[in-house]
């Protein structure tokens, strides 16, 4: 710090030596601003959180302290950083300030996404205790284990069927609801409602539908089996009917995600200028043709974005499979579920990490596509 203390006066700022010194000082200040100050802030928050560990403290008080510390802490962080900048000599301020603005974001992204990414790759090359390197053994396991192969096949099924169903249903519903004179908002809210429910809640919801009790174990209180019995059929243990049980689980995700597709697509449909649609109608196009030839092509970019989002969500699906019975004995394994299984139940970090890396490699194409699309958009701007 002392090196930058005797700062050159504005008069001789043009000399080469001092400009070199200045860029060095700017660099150091940026580094301090972007990394040290956020870390200091987090450390301060951590100290406050120590209090929250006290098990005997009043719970409501703990909640209030938690909210105040969390919310207040983050605001205080930026205000203090900004004040700290204003102490700097004028010419440093504006070159340092952007790094104050993005610094905390970069620290968090680095710590919570980039660092784990690198670390996971290392772990995937080591044994189950992360001690010795085992080469590609864990990857061999991923692509030869029977249960893993089934998980990969199932996941591909999820990635195809769920987006297809959710987007088509969402699009159909958005198109039709758009034509209602009244009740559009209510109808859409009903479809959207499951989005607000947790997977844990949804699993209970759907267990009430798929519930099965064999003869002699009480009456069947699951809705589907109620229907079966109503039609004089025998009740079915839906969730162990391989391979159809995969489909039954997908229905849950479709139920939860259709609302999202519908909301976004509906907004896109409403953004289509009325003249375009009217023109097509005047030209004698049927309603189906208007939909197929005018509306769908116009909102195609949105459809693609929504579908991509759903494909990635389906790739990462975990909770539904995890809570709806024993995946391995039912044959409903998916990749993310296997990963959690090996991390926390099978206690084999190497295998879990290898599965995680496979998951990551699978999203790389989408990542590249995303970046490309972003650059194209930027070049149009």
């Amino acid at each position: 710090m002392s090196a930058s203390e005797p700062l050159p006066s504005p008069g001789d700022a043009t000399t080469v030596a001092s400009s070199g010194l200045r860029s060095l000082a700017t660099f150091v200040l940026r580094l301090v601003g972007a990394i040290a100050i956020p870390l200091f802030g987090f450390a301060a928050m951590w100290a406050a959180v120590e209090y929250l560990r006290d098990e005997n403290a009043n719970r409501i008080l703990v909640v209030i302290v938690a909210v105040v510390v969390g919310v207040g802490g983050i605001f205080a962080l930026y205000v203090v950083m900004n004040k700290a900048i204003d102490v700097l000599p004028l010419r440093y301020r504006e070159s340092v300030r952007p790094w104050i603005f993005v610094g905390p974001a970069l620290v968090l992204l680095g710590l919570f996404l980039v660092y784990p990414l690198v670390n996971t790759i290392f772990i995937s090359l080591k044994d189950q205790y992360s001690e010795a390197f085992v080469g590609l053994d864990n990857y061999t396991f991923v692509f030869t284990d029977e249960s893993m192969l089934r998980a990969i096949r199932n996941t591909v099924g999820w990635m195809v069927i769920v987006p297809l169903a959710a987007v088509s249903l969402g699009l159909a519903f958005a198109t039709l609801a758009d034509r209602l004179r009244r009740g559009e908002a209510v109808a859409k809210s009903v479809i959207f409602l499951p989005m607000a429910i947790s997977f844990a809640g949804a699993s209970i919801t759907w267990r009430l539908i798929y519930n099965f009790r064999p003869q002699g174990f009480g009456s069947n209180i699951g809705l589907l089996n109620g229907v079966m019995i109503g039609f004089g059929q025998n009740p079915v243990d839906w969730l162990s009917q391989h391979p159809w049980n995969n489909l039954y689980l997908m229905v849950i995700m479709i139920w939860m995600q259709t609302g999202f597709a519908m909301v976004v697509l509906s907004a896109a449909i409403k953004a289509i200028p009325d003249e375009i649609i009217e023109a097509a109608r005047i030209d004698g196009a049927s309603e189906w043709q208007v939909f197929r030839r005018v509306m769908v092509p116009t909102i195609l970019p949105t459809i693609v974005v929504v579908t991509t989002y759903m494909v990635i969500n389906a790739l990462k699906v975990f909770d539904i499979v995890f809570v709806m019975g024993n995946a391995q004995s039912n044959g409903t394994e998916v990749i993310a579920e296997r990963m959690i299984y090996w991390f926390f139940i099978g206690a084999n970090y190497g295998r879990g990490a290898a599965i995680a890396v496979v998951l990551f490699v699978a999203v790389i194409p989408v990542m590249i596509w995303n970046v490309r699309r972003f650059r194209e958009e930027e070049s149009i701007r």
């Binding site: 987090f42 959180v49 929250l52 703990v62 909640v63 909210v67 510390v69 969390g70 919310v71 930026y78 300030r97 952007p98 603005f101 993005v102 974001a105 970069l106 992204l109 919570f112 996404l113 660092y115 784990p116 670390n119 996971t120 772990i123 039709l176 609801a177 034509r179 209602l180 409602l193 499951p194 989005m195 607000a196 429910i197 947790s198 997977f199 844990a200 809640g201 209970i204 919801t205 009456s219 209180i221 699951g222 809705l223 109620g226 976004v264 907004a267 896109a268 953004a271 949105t302 975990f318 909770d319 809570v323 993310a336 990490a353 998951l359 990551f360 999203v363 995303n370 970046v371 972003f374």
Partner: protein
């Protein structure tokens, strides 16, 4: 009464364009459209309805008859009870509810604040590496958070060591609220920065220029100008993140754990799900308690949710 209402509704309905045949029916939202929508909406409601009804029935009734049988005699008062909610709340669900609040509120505010500052910098400030860094953020949008869990657990427990160099101190963050807040913030950041930058970047540059001319610095512009103008986008992401954190099971399970004093609602629900396999009356009551807050948040703010979400994705 009901007759008068129907009469009223018909009287206020706008005069229909005289259309005959199926095509006009579809276009103007005729009966076929209405029936299709009612059928789909009813199908979508059935699962939730089952939970709601079951949660108000007695334990014996729930276990011996299907929930749909109540429709045979819906007015028989004896079959409805509030006992399930009372029991569920006294089995630690009240505590879990408070923990969920303590996790969710900061885990929503922290990423939004951090992302808003970063989004502003990416949109309106000049600095080297701005483009590349944002491209990295776009790339991180799709990274599965599952792959971060183990490294982060180790980081929280032992500090971070990368290539033999110490990069993060041992803070013993496992099982603390701060640990969960930061994890949720980190995982939510790419989407937050991306959405907010799209929104903030689309604000007219003339406002920012004129504020600069008036001598406002970036902090003032951001705080006084950009934040108020970005309320729709901020609210949209807030709802998104709130729902996500409130409903999250995985991150809370890994970083906060299932001990009674800190467990959140979803974990309490999962525990209840496991330990009382057949206590449907309690499970459904607990499930509905966990749904109340997200439903309120969602329905009171859904206007913002839709507007802000579509601001970024539906361009042009």
């Amino acid at each position: 009464m009901s007759l008068a209402q129907t009469g009223d509704a018909q009287a206020t309905a706008p005069p229909l364009v005289v259309e005959s045949g199926n095509v006009g029916d579809v276009r103007s939202g005729g009966w076929s459209v209405r029936i299709a929508i009612v059928v789909v909406a009813a199908l979508w409601l059935v699962p939730t309805l089952g939970v709601l009804i079951t949660s108000f029935r007695g334990a014996d009734a729930v276990n011996t008859t299907g929930w749909w049988t109540v429709f045979a005699h819906p007015l028989q008062a004896g079959q409805w009870t509030l006992q399930n909610y009372d029991t569920a709340l006294h089995q630690g669900l009240g505590n879990a509810f408070l923990n969920s609040v303590a996790v969710t509120v900061p885990a929503t505010v922290i990423p939004i604040t951090i992302a808003a500052f970063a989004a502003y910098a990416f949109a309106w400030m000049d600095f080297r590496g701005r483009y590349i860094l944002f491209v990295v953020v776009v790339g991180l949008l799709v990274v599965p958070l599952q792959m971060a869990l183990i490294p982060l657990l180790k980081l929280y427990a032992n500090g971070g060591i990368l290539f033999g160099h110490w990069v993060f101190p041992d803070l013993d963050l496992n099982g603390t609220f701060l640990g969960v807040w930061l994890a949720h913030a980190g995982f939510g950041l790419p989407l937050a920065i991306y959405l907010l930058r799209n929104y903030i970047g689309s604000l007219p540059s003339s406002i920012i220029e004129s504020a600069k001319m008036d001598g406002a610095d970036h902090f003032t512009i951001f705080w006084r100008l950009i934040v108020p103008l970005s309320v729709p986008a901020l609210a949209a992401f807030a709802i998104f993140q709130f729902l996500w954190v409130w409903n999250d099971l995985l991150v809370a399970y890994v970083f906060l754990g299932g001990t009674k004093d800190v467990q959140v609602l979803t974990l309490a629900l999962a525990a209840l799900n496991g330990s009382h396999g057949q206590t449907w009356h309690l499970l459904t009551a607990a499930a509905f308690i966990s749904m109340v807050v997200p439903l309120i948040v969602f329905f009171s703010l859904q206007k913002y949710f839709v507007r802000g979400l579509t601001a970024g994705s539906v361009k042009g």
